[in-house]
Symmetry: D2
């Protein structure tokens, strides 16, 4: 299933080492001003090679709009966005034709399809998230017109919250041939009350599904999240006054519907599974082997996951916004 | 959106104080032996009135099979299950016609629909989960035939993990007119490798969406969840040997596809928002008021949420099982 | 697949000789005044036993609203409608347990499911259309509020167009143990321009799918239909003037989108396959046999198909109306 | 809605005068041998410029596979196919910026979106069907492996059935600045019994929706179609014997499920609305005007619609084939 969304639907395609990756956006309203410059900056935030904290691969990732825009405006028809992949030496990956990398999708893809594109993970590569970000940029533009702003921040990396300590931790892991995990927070401000659709289209359910569907994410919280498990009801309920809610333990969602408060989401990101340190594994024939994953990998994926997570939140909200239009009939 | 699932689709209906609640299951294979006795035990686990730790309301919740079963076997046609609601005095709820309960969906439903059934939450009531459990029982029967077993347990309540302490904590909260939250764990054993569908139908994404879509759930973890944020890659990757994975930090899912290991899910459950203690709120006209929620409410919903969470996991897995059939073409 | 529609979604359930048939409507806007008296008249038009031209079975078909309506108005939550089936003697159908009726779904259900409810066709019975009509009545109420009126008429039966000749033809067929087919026309007036969604949600595509999905329908035309195959372009194009289109060969749809003119649809209805005359058939073991279908069957289903076809058109239009709301964002 | 299908899903994009048109196929099984040479021949059958009976525009329409194929085989990931549009002089279309062509989607797109790409119809152009054909070629390859063969033929053009008369009729219309309509028949051989899904996923309903969703199609028949309206039941039912059905009035579908006989579909195709003869119309401001549609248009679209209609039938059957896999669980 490579389509996400019901009203603002995106369908992504492409493998990390195939000719191109891209996305078709279906359901974008007509009349939105749009050109590549609306999309490129968010792609650039996701791109490797942008700092010494992330993978040094230097990919340009120039987006091309193939359809859906005429004389600078969307026409209501599908918007196809494409980024050509740069040529890579496939022989760099020859070892991975048979070896299965621990912590990656290699084992499970092999089991599911009996067959896989072993070059850089193929479809399971993080490169696929480029398409989500391209579509997310369009969603954010729609939301911005409604006054909805998405942002994100790193909460912690490897248990550290101080920016300098985070930086030192990532560089230290890199030097050790290791990787580290962390926590990120994504928020949406300006979301009106009423978005989200009971009982199986709840806003928090949709957000959790979208976030956990990002590779490397292993936990999702809305509002105070796991902290609520240790509370009394009187501590956790958000009192309501004439001028609004007094607190926001709920993270802006009640009964699966936005309350008008800030939407607050946190995600747990695992350490990148590609590490130089030797690991125990097997090949596709079941023989045991040792693997040391070569290449220029991210010692910590948290910085680059931020625009992806923002995009997923934007996609969910744009979808809910269009869904909600039906209630205004 | 009151439909869940793509291949094993359920559509639920009903309000807590309407004539009936029910569910239509579409996509259940033909030839499955099924009668009410397959469904009733799971409904009974969810039912109030079963112990002094949960709501003392004594509802019978007898399920009736309206269609889809002929001579004791499913026919491949939709299975409709219905439970009649018992008569309640609507006047008990008259105060809630205008007052909005903090922590509930009252505020957001009013905003979304401009209108709501105020009696016991109407559609947003936990009673709706009865339908999920009825459908979940059918999904579990299918899964059991494939050797897949779903189970669950309470991890903690209000920070306590010892059963006696949990019991004391719940009864103490009840005596104080309070409620308490907790954490539950749901697992699936016997799941074959290969279930789940990249990139937007990932098994973990589906599970997270399903769990967060249960009222009261504010956090979801797969495998080690938030703990991975503090790890090195070498600590978190599960090594693979000839006879399988050495550890299961991943919780049985890699790249969104089941690995053949145990699926492990944890959810954070908030304290029930209905408490006797007075709370600040407003009415539907915006006037400030104090509310003390009357009635026989659960001081802790964690015990009753277990069969609901098991059902959601079963529904996701049954859906993925049928989806996977296409790969065996 | 027992769900129809994307925005105004209906899910039907029930077999002709099971406990009940029914439908869950999901996506109906909140605030619509609705009670059983809005639905019953359309059900009564579809009901057998209403004249000597249709089956003399006298079924009451009383609809019960199980959910989604509170104090006389829809709440935006799913509307479940149920009709209990009257008790029938299953032994009347014992012969059909093994014998496959020509022209019916008996052969194909047996092939697909390896198993079927042989009593009156089970799920493949025309009784299932009762659910479509119940939902159609709700759709029509929504449309009527927008000024859209659905109607239908018999164009011909067994080649005759004169009402007296039609009546004589049907009664004659009945006396012979035969059945006859015919053509019906369904129209919608007051449909605004803009409904329908290119390129795979075209209004005419949706209508054709909906109509051909009614048992017994073997052909569908929009506007002038098959007659256009013999025309020049200049004869077939509808000229446009200041005050609108001069003609309506297109049947109110251009490029899959409503033009604001009357929507015109015609369907070809086959003679009821249940006839008293002996026919060649086989049983489920492949043995040849002769069958004479007993019971009180319709000698011509065209009169009773009218409310079903109207309902399908109403369901499509209600769905498109809600879809179109997104374009007004 | 630019996505078609549930299991074998295609999403098309592109306007006639934008940078490119294309399609993403999601759900294609892994392991299918596939390269551009499997797709190009069907595209070539649809291409203009191939004979003096169709538009003399000479477009190359070279397909590029962007993803989903690795080392000559599909991987189960989305297959993106793209065809670059050749550069056209947009000024040729300047008149159409304001003038609405009768019989085209110009009027309704303008009404729906308030805005349109006027160059050659933009998204509503027949060029969009190129994408359906590209996807159809993949579907046909899957079906061919199962022994299912799709074919088609022209039944009549402008009332003529003799090939020479058809040819003369088309050339005559062309000389007059006119266009002519016709009837085509599409068939599928080798379809096993059991495809199609009651009650809203019936095979005939799906086929009718798919065919009527092709621009220019105004009528669809299955089997004997409208002819059944003039028959007795005993004439229309297909008797069953030990070795199969005696006749095939039903066109291979009973109760919405394939019977194992040949699937027979006929479509009515209207005369191309683009004609040189002057027609009455209005501009987007409502002013009356005369229009003579210039350019190299098809005097009869029936020959070029054949591969499109074959493709739609192939897409429906591939989708049903995958759906049916669930019943083999």
């Amino acid at each position: 299933m490579n389509t996400f969304g019901t009203n603002f639907r995106i369908t992504t395609f492409g493998e990390s080492h195939g000719p191109a990756v891209g996305v078709v956006i279906d359901g974008c309203p007509a009349g939105l001003a749009l050109d590549a410059s609306d999309i490129q900056p968010l792609l650039d935030r996701r791109r490797p090679g942008s700092s010494d904290l992330v993978s040094p691969r230097d990919e340009k990732d120039r987006v091309e709009i193939l359809s859906g825009v005429f004389e600078g405006k969307t026409t209501g028809t599908p918007i196809a966005l494409m980024v050509r992949n740069e040529k890579h030496e496939s022989k760099d990956y020859e070892e991975l034709r048979t070896l299965l990398r621990p912590g990656h999708a290699d084992f499970t893809y092999q089991q599911k399809y009996g067959y896989r594109d072993h070059r850089g993970g193929g479809r399971s590569s993080g490169r696929e998230t480029l398409c989500r970000v391209a579509a997310g940029a369009v969603a954010m533009k729609i939301l911005a017109e409604k006054g909805i702003i998405i942002s994100s921040r790193i909460v912690s990396v490897h248990g550290k919250t101080d920016p300098d300590a985070i930086r030192a931790g990532i560089l230290g892991a890199k030097a050790m041939g290791e990787s580290v995990g962390g926590i990120a927070e994504i928020t949406a401000q300006g979301v009106p009350a009423g978005l989200g659709d009971p009982v199986f289209g709840k806003l928090d359910g949709q957000i959790a599904g979208a976030m956990m569907g990002i590779g490397a994410v292993k936990g999702v919280e809305i509002g105070d999240g796991f902290a609520v498990a240790g509370r009394f009801g009187s501590e956790n309920n958000d009192p309501i006054r004439k001028d609004g809610f007094v607190t926001n333990h709920a993270g802006g969602i009640l009964g699966g519907i936005s309350s008008g408060q800030e939407i607050v989401v946190r995600i747990a990101v695992k350490p990148t599974p590609s590490i130089a340190r030797p690991q125990e594994t097997v090949d596709i024939h079941g023989n045991e082997a040792e693997i040391s994953v070569k290449g220029r990998h991210d010692p910590c994926i948290v910085p680059r996951i931020l625009p992806v997570a923002e995009s997923m939140l934007a996609l969910v909200l744009a979808d809910c916004w269009l869904e909600q239009a039906k209630y205004r009939v």
